[in-house]
Symmetry: D2
Subunit: 108 residues, 4 copies
């Protein structure tokens, strides 16, 4: 048996894993980052038990390749998702950890 | 050696293959389809030699699952991409073929 | 603060969300399903705190399109992942729920 | 109207675009690269008009993150696809161009 809080944590993990692996690889630039952020937020918001999603792509990492654009990578993303499940609420975050050089996901 | 038109056709194929496999699986509903269409158009527009991209998600296929949303599938997408390469122009389309029950990609 | 079990549940969610959204849309047939199952298992096994991953694609859903193959969809996948985090162990499953007609993820 | 060779070039582009955007982001290590290469080859081989697909992941780029694995990126992939369409044959390649620092796709 699992507590509502454990299940909420599980659901939060699903959303961050989904967000990451659905959108990593998408072409993106400073001009299109806003549109992509909104589309990611809105799509993940549809999933079960989501109260809110916010996504921010780090513009300083969008310097562009030889054709003038970048590809979305995990390190560029700062995302937060709030889950509500049977009275339990959890908030989980994806953000780049420069010390580990890794896009960490954690419960807040 | 390849002609500019052959290369333009190749580039058009890349864009449709990319569009399809990047975004299929994305949660989508009638409320979020417009945002997703714009984000797909804008992201694929960044790729080399693209003159225009238009994407339309078939709302009639967005009836929703038990949680009230759908997942983007190839059959839902109508996309057109125009490529210009060294004077050659091609236009390629992804659209559902109901007879074949398959999301066909073809040069127009 | 979160308990090790809550964090393990979170990590389990990440893995199922990742697995689903990375691989949905992949072309697959009865002949290639085994290769794809192994590749999914091995890739997700690399992620943090994973003890085991098993993936099974439902062959009965691989009847094939006009070109003789299918695309991996969530409903075809039965996956189980075991997570160990600071003494806590959780097991999470993705499996099609025919009553809900939805690929459910849950903690076991 | 398009020639068989133009259509073959288009189909080759589809396959490289699909391969790239389906699998970029997949966790991978030196131990699992072989399994992933085979799964990619087999899945893309199912698509229409494909005669052969070969995929090679550059092991020298798999040095690993803080958790000991990498994520598949376009720069790591060397892929070749052969298409046959109504008597026309084309071969297309995805490979990292170190001068451009870009994963180039081209017809050969």
């Amino acid at each position: 048996m699992y507590t509502p809080r454990e299940i909420a944590a599980f659901e939060a993990g699903i959303k961050l894993g989904a967000l990451y692996h659905q959108f990593v690889g998408t072409p993106v630039s400073v001009k299109t980052a806003d549109s992509l952020e909104r589309a990611i937020e809105r799509s993940i918001s549809l999933q079960p038990y989501v109260k809110s999603v916010s996504v921010r792509i780090d513009r300083s990492m969008l310097s562009g390749n030889v054709f003038g654009y970048s590809e979305l990578s995990g390190k560029m993303i700062r995302a937060a998702v709030e889950i509500a499940y049977e009275g339990a609420r959890v908030r989980a975050v994806l953000e780049y950890d420069p010390e580990k050089d890794y896009p960490m996901m954690h419960l807040e």
